[in-house]
Point group: C2
Chain length 325, copies 2
DNA sequence: TTGAAAGCGTTACCAT
DNA sequence: ATGGTAACGCTTTCAA
């Protein structure tokens, strides 16, 4: 429109030297008036920088994951990045599919919360081979890559100790698949607490199945129907906490008089239940922020592999009996 | 690698005529082996088709919105589209910012759930002027564009009638901002029911403020502290339902003996509360699917403006007294 | 101070 | 049947 070369325009708009003040003003004014915005697609094609990251979660509609996503997104935005959020459906096949689609879009990195089915990591190794930055968050794995997770062992241990101190002796554990690190860690903390307090471990009280509402429901009903039913349950996933709670109430048992229960959940879910659930509160804001931070560092060439653990704290409400000591 | 021209490769890979079977085989094999995938950025630059849509929600961490997003995403994926999910923070400024950033990324269309602050629509008019396809969902507005919303008037009417039939006569209404269409519609249904049953409308029982946990809490406490406190509350947003419920319980009142309450929420939130909340269940799956469908149609040149209403149903639980008739 | 051209990956069109 | 080239929007390097 000004009858000049694009390179001049480029220089002017980027504030580089080598444009007469006169011309520069004309250019910036016209750009403003026309509502000019650089086309990021062109830049992407040229330099393969899309300023875009991908996020993969097992179930975006589940509060826990949605909250982490919100914080990753907030942090990303502050650093000029956009997020493409995808949902693996908590399945391995969905996870690999999401990765493929994100790579097609040339995201600069991927933040992954593993599906409960994921016990092999070939798809992640492939990312490594291609030098695609990625970070595991919340549900991580024992492979050599950056991870952000909550302090699962210790928080489960604290929760179990709290149950024991409240007088519980037959404490059940309700978790996800046996080979999932998150379940393994939380079970580890649970077992450690039992050993510390010299309480016999009863295999029948440990339920590691599928993370889903229905599975949690039937596992809890099974526990409650045993000859020597538990006097407390530690549930190790928000979904399982909800289903276990409803199973107990549905059976007409009183909480915490007949049975205590602790869940992994957020403030407001606990606040809705009656009695309010004693729960492990994870610092999801920090998980989200650190997740982006590690990804960002990787994108910018920092290849130190950090494995960060974020503290989680037990919040005591009314679904557990108070300690006598 | 094969020492041939790119155009030949393009033809071979796209299955177009004009390649010898021999060469075609060589090309496809090599492509397979090399893990070739067409670069969508190049295609985007060339034809401005990104196969990407944007979604704007007030708060991705809130279950209600996250669920709709999940269904939009599922439908989009089935049609070869990716979603860029952004969070307006329930503010107008955030909303316009999200739109700008999505346009920069050249999304082909935008699905918008309005912020509670949005009472002017200049930013949407600008989208229209630029012929960017967009659809409003869940929280819509009275402007000339495609919309998907739940049957707010009728579901609020049904809910109010249920309260009246249960014996309530001083029914409070707790909603969002006065100028938000969703609040207006639900209030409309509420008032209609009162008129139908010849019950006096008391202005002091109608609270239209801010949609937030704290606002809902203080508004409810204010209602409960009135000289003639309500014997029932209709809460018109999931967040307000939660805060009202907790305010009532916190005051030591019994539900439904002292006061009945109805919320807009999902099954599992209702299932967690005790007593379980009677609630209006919206068909979020259908909202999500139709939202993508309308957007998709627009992207493909269909410029008929449809305003779709999805049925919502009252699910009766134990937070309301049963009707005597 | 300004212009010209290459290059990112792809496809469509025209020439060979 | 295959090759060459322009075009998409932008930046960078080199030349004028």
């Amino acid at each position: 429109m000004l009858g000049i070369n694009v390179s001049t325009v480029s220089r002017a708009l980027k504030g580089l030297a080598g444009v007469s003040p006169d011309l520069r003003q004309k250019i910036t004014q016209l750009a403003e008036k026309q509502g000019y915005h650089p086309n990021p697609l062109a830049m992407s094609l040229r330099y393969n920088i899309t300023h875009t990251i991908g996020i993969i979660v097992p179930d975006i509609s589940f509060n826990h994951y949605a909250q982490i996503v919100k914080w990753i997104e907030a942090e990303a935005r502050m650093n000029g990045y956009m997020c493409i959020v995808t949902d693996s459906g908590d399945k391995l096949i969905g996870e690999t599919d999401c990765i493929q689609r994100l790579l097609n879009l040339h995201v600069e990195g991927i933040a992954i919360c593993l599906s409960q089915e994921t016990v092999e990591y070939a798809h992640l190794e492939r990312l490594k081979d291609k030098h695609i930055p990625f970070v595991l968050f919340d549900r991580v794995a024992n492979i050599d890559c950056p991870t952000i997770s909550s302090n699962d062992v210790e928080s489960a241990r604290q929760a179990t100790l709290h149950l024991i101190d409240g007088g519980a002796r037959r404490i059940a554990f309700l978790g996800g698949p046996n080979r999932m690190k998150q379940t393994i860690d939380r079970k580890h903390g649970y077992l450690e607490a039992l050993r510390e307090r010299r309480i016999n471990i009863k295999k029948k009280l440990v339920k590691c199945g599928h993370v889903s509402f229905n599975s949690g429901l039937s596992d809890t009903l099974d526990l409650l129907g045993q000859q020597d039913p538990p006097d407390a349950i530690l549930t190790c996933h928000g979904m399982l906490s909800i289903s276990a709670f409803q199973a107990i109430i549905g059976k007409g048992l009183r909480i915490p008089e007949d049975i205590s229960i602790i869940g992994f959940m957020s403030d407001w879910v606990s606040g809705m239940s009656y009695p309010r659930m004693t729960f492990v509160k994870q610092n999801l804001k920090e998980v989200g922020r650190k997740t982006f931070e590690l990804l960002y560092n990787q994108i910018n060439g920092d290849d130190t592999i950090r494995n960060i653990t974020i503290d989680a704290r037990l919040n005591i409400r009314e679904s557990t009996r108070k300690g006598e000591r």
